[in-house]
C-alpha cells in the first residue's frame, strides 16, 4: 500500500486505501451495512446543519467514524458525553427526528444543550454538551465511577477533539480516572492539520495516545479514516473498562474534508469501497440511504419551522 503525505504516521489500520481488509485482520463483530448507513446519515445531516447558519457551529465531515462508532459500541446502559461538534452521536444513537430538529434550532426553553446545533438525548444516555471547555470529561469520569460504585457493568464515554488536551481538565481527568480505575473511555479525534490550534500548542504531529499512556491510561492510536479499526479499537477499550480494568483513551487521527483530501481519507468512502469489494454495495442501496436520512430530517425541520410560524 502506497502511503501519501495525507496518511498519518503511527496509526493502526485494518482497511487499505481501496477498502480491502489487510491480511491478518479479522472483521469486527459489527453489521457493516448498518454502520455504513449511520455514517452516510451523519454526513448528510451534517451538510444540512451547515445550511442552517447556526451560531458557533462547525462541521464534522471527515470525522464521523469515531462519533458513529462510539454510538454503536455503547450499550443501552452506557452513557455518552459528547463534545460540541458531536451531534452525529445522538443521531446514530437513534435520537427522535423531531426532537433533533427542535434542539438544533435552539427551540428548547426549559434548559438544554449549550448552543443551537448541539443536542441532548438524556433518555438515550447521551448527556448534554457543556458550556465550559472540556467540562464533560470529568462529568463523564464521575458518571462512570458512579456506575462502577453501583456495581453496574457499564461504561461512560467522553468524545472530544485533540485541542482540548491542552486544558487543565484533560490532565486532571486522566489523573482522577486512573486514581479511581473508573470505567471511562475517552474518544479523542486528532486532526492532522488542526484549523485553529497554533503549532506552538504542541498538538501537531504529537500523539495524544502517547501522552495518555505516559499518564498511566491504556491508549491506542488508530486511523480515523478507517471505520473498522476505529470500531474494533473502541469496542476493545469499552470491554476492558467494563471489566474493571480502568480507563482507556482511543485517539483516532482524522482528516477534515474541508482540506479536500484524496478519497481514501474519507471514512465514508473507505467503508463504501469495502462494501463494494465484498459485493454488498449497489448504487440503489446508496440512493436509498441518501434519501432516507435527509427526508426524515427535512420533514422534522419543516414541522419545527411550521410550529414557529
Amino acid at each position: 500500500m502506497e502511503t501519501t503525505a495525507w496518511d498519518p504516521e503511527g496509526v493502526t489500520t485494518v482497511l487499505d486505501h481501496s477498502g480491502r481488509l489487510s491480511d491478518q485482520s479479522r472483521p469486527p463483530q459489527v453489521d457493516i451495512r448498518a454502520y455504513y448507513k449511520a455514517l452516510v446519515g451523519a454526513r448528510r445531516i451534517d451538510a444540512r446543519l451547515g445550511e442552517l447558519g447556526l451560531p458557533m457551529w462547525a462541521s464534522c465531515a471527515g470525522e464521523e467514524a469515531p462519533l458513529v462508532a462510539t454510538a454503536l459500541v455503547a450499550r443501552p446502559e452506557d452513557w455518552i458525553y459528547p463534545g460540541s461538534r458531536d451531534t452525529a452521536i445522538a443521531i446514530a444513537r437513534g435520537m427522535d427526528w423531531d426532537e433533533l430538529a427542535r434542539q438544533v434550532l435552539g427551540r428548547h426553553t426549559g434548559g438544554g444543550p449549550a448552543l443551537p446545533g448541539r443536542v441532548c438525548a438524556d433518555a438515550l444516555h447521551v448527556a448534554p454538551t457543556t458550556g465550559a471547555l472540556g467540562m464533560h470529561l470529568p462529568l463523564a469520569a464521575g458518571h462512570a465511577q458512579a456506575l462502577r460504585i453501583a456495581g453496574r457493568k457499564a461504561v461512560a464515554f467522553a468524545s472530544f477533539g485533540e485541542g482540548l488536551t491542552t486544558t487543565g481538565v484533560f490532565a486532571e481527568t486522566l489523573a482522577l480516572a486512573t486514581a479511581n480505575d473508573v470505567p471511562l473511555v475517552l474518544v479523542c479525534r486528532s486532526q492532522q492539520w488542526p484549523g485553529q490550534a497554533p503549532a506552538e500548542a504542541g498538538v501537531v504531529g504529537d500523539s495524544v495516545a502517547d501522552r495518555a499512556r505516559a499518564a498511566g491510561v491504556w491508549s491506542r492510536r488508530v486511523d480515523g479514516a478507517d471505520p473498522l479499526v476505529v470500531y474494533a479499537t473502541l469496542a476493545a477499550a469499552a470491554e476492558r473498562a467494563r471489566d474493571g480494568r480502568g480507563p482507556a483513551l482511543v485517539e483516532a487521527v482524522v482528516t477534515q474534508l474541508v482540506h479536500e483530501p484524496p478519497p481514501h481519507r474519507d471514512p465514508v468512502e473507505r467503508l463504501r469501497r469495502h462494501l463494494e469489494s465484498t459485493g454488498a454495495w449497489t448504487s440503489t442501496f446508496q440512493d436509498v440511504l441518501d434519501a432516507e436520512a435527509v427526508a426524515h430530517f427535512d420533514r422534522a425541520l419543516a414541522a419545527q419551522r411550521g410550529a414557529r410560524a
Partner: protein, 320 residues
C-alpha cells in the same frame, strides 16, 4: 463536644443512612484536613465509600456532579474555599447540569467548605465566599450559623432525594467549626431552605448568617435594645417570603455579614426589602460588613463585623 467532632460523626451517620452516599476530597482517606471523614475512615464498613481526589478542584467538582448524575450521592469536602473559587468553572457546569438535560434531572451533589477567618490564614481563606457562590445560577447555598446546629445543617443539606435536587454548597464558617457545643442538635427543626427568626424583638431586625449570627445576638444584648435576629441560613435561593415578612415586622433593618459590603449578599437583601417592603421601612437599611480590602493573617478578624459596630447600627435604626 467540638463542632468538628459532631460533623465527623454526622458524616458517618449520613453514609450509614444511605448506601449511595460517598465522601470525596483531598486527603479524605486520611480523614481530611478538617477531619470530617475521620469517623468514616475509622469504620471499616464505611471506609470504601471515602474517595480521595487529586489536587484538581475544577475536575473534582465536575467529577462529583457526574457521580451524582450516575446515581451516587457524593459529598465533596473542601479543605478551603479556595478550591471552590478555583473550581468555579466546574461548579457552574455542575449547577446547570440538571437544567441542561431539559427535564430538570436531579444532581444530588453536596459540597462542604469552610469559610471566613478563624484559622489565622488571612487573604482569600479569610474572606466570605458565599456571595460568589450565591450568584452561580442553579446552585443552592446554605450557611451554618449557630455551633449547636452545625451537624444538623450537614444532615439537612445532604437530604437530596427530590427528583429535581440541585447541587448544594454548605458553608461552614471557621469560627463555627472551632466552637464547642454543649449539645449538637441532631435535627435543624426547620427546612434548611428557610430563614428563621432566632430571637424575637420589636425595635429592629438584624439579618445575619454564618459566624455573624452570634455577633448579632451579642450585639442585641450589648445595645440593650429589643431587636429581633434572623438567621438567613439559605443564601441561594433566598427565602424571600420569610425575609420580607420579618423585614416588615419592624421596618428597621440591620444586615450584618462577613466579607466585603460591595457586591455582597447584604446588597441583595437590601434590594429585596426596598422592592417588597418599601411601605414598611422606617429607617435606612443599614449594612455592617467585613473589610473591603485584602486582609493579612494578623488582621483576618476584620473580615467579620464586630459586636460594637453591629450594636451601633441597631441603635441607629431603632432610634432613627
Amino acid at each position: 463536644m467540638s463542632v468538628l467532632t459532631s460533623l465527623s460523626e454526622m458524616m458517618a451517620q449520613l453514609l450509614r443512612e444511605d448506601r449511595r452516599r460517598v465522601v470525596l476530597g483531598e486527603d479524605a482517606r486520611d480523614g481530611g484536613m478538617l477531619g470530617l471523614s475521620r469517623t468514616c475512615i475509622a469504620d471499616g464498613t464505611l471506609r470504601e465509600r471515602v474517595i480521595a481526589t487529586p489536587l484538581s478542584p475544577t475536575t473534582a467538582v465536575a467529577h462529583a456532579a457526574g457521580l451524582a448524575r450516575g446515581g451516587a450521592r457524593p459529598i465533596l469536602v473542601f479543605a478551603s474555599p479556595l478550591g471552590l473559587l478555583e473550581g468555579l468553572a466546574g461548579l457552574r457546569e455542575a449547577a446547570r447540569l440538571g437544567w441542561r438535560t431539559g427535564q430538570s434531572a436531579a444532581v444530588p451533589l453536596l459540597m462542604v467548605t469552610p469559610s471566613g477567618p478563624g484559622f489565622g490564614l488571612g487573604e482569600e481563606a479569610a474572606e466570605a465566599i458565599e456571595a460568589t457562590l450565591a450568584r452561580v445560577p442553579g446552585l443552592r447555598v446554605l450557611c451554618a450559623g449557630q455551633p449547636a446546629e452545625a451537624a444538623a445543617w450537614l444532615h439537612a443539606a445532604a437530604q437530596l432525594d427530590d427528583d429535581d435536587a440541585v447541587p448544594t454548597v454548605l458553608v461552614l464558617p471557621r469560627r463555627v467549626l472551632l466552637a464547642d457545643t454543649d449539645e449538637a442538635l441532631p435535627d435543624l427543626g426547620r427546612a434548611c431552605t428557610s430563614a428563621a427568626r432566632i430571637r424575637d424583638g420589636q425595635a429592629a431586625t438584624v439579618f445575619a448568617w454564618g459566624e455573624t449570627v452570634q455577633v448579632a445576638l451579642d450585639a442585641v444584648a450589648h445595645a440593650q435594645i429589643d431587636a429581633a435576629v434572623v438567621d438567613v441560613g439559605c443564601l441561594a435561593p433566598l427565602d424571600a417570603a420569610t425575609l420580607v415578612a420579618e423585614a416588615k415586622a419592624t421596618g428597621k433593618i440591620v444586615i450584618a455579614h462577613a466579607g466585603p459590603a460591595a457586591g455582597g449578599l447584604g446588597a441583595e437583601l437590601a434590594a429585596l426589602f426596598a422592592d417588597q417592603a418599601i411601605l414598611h421601612l422606617d429607617a435606612p437599611i443599614t449594612r455592617v460588613t467585613g473589610a473591603d480590602a485584602p486582609l493579612s493573617a494578623a488582621l483576618e478578624a476584620q473580615a467579620v463585623p464586630t459586636v460594637a459596630r453591629v450594636a451601633e447600627a441597631i441603635a441607629h435604626v431603632a432610634n432613627y
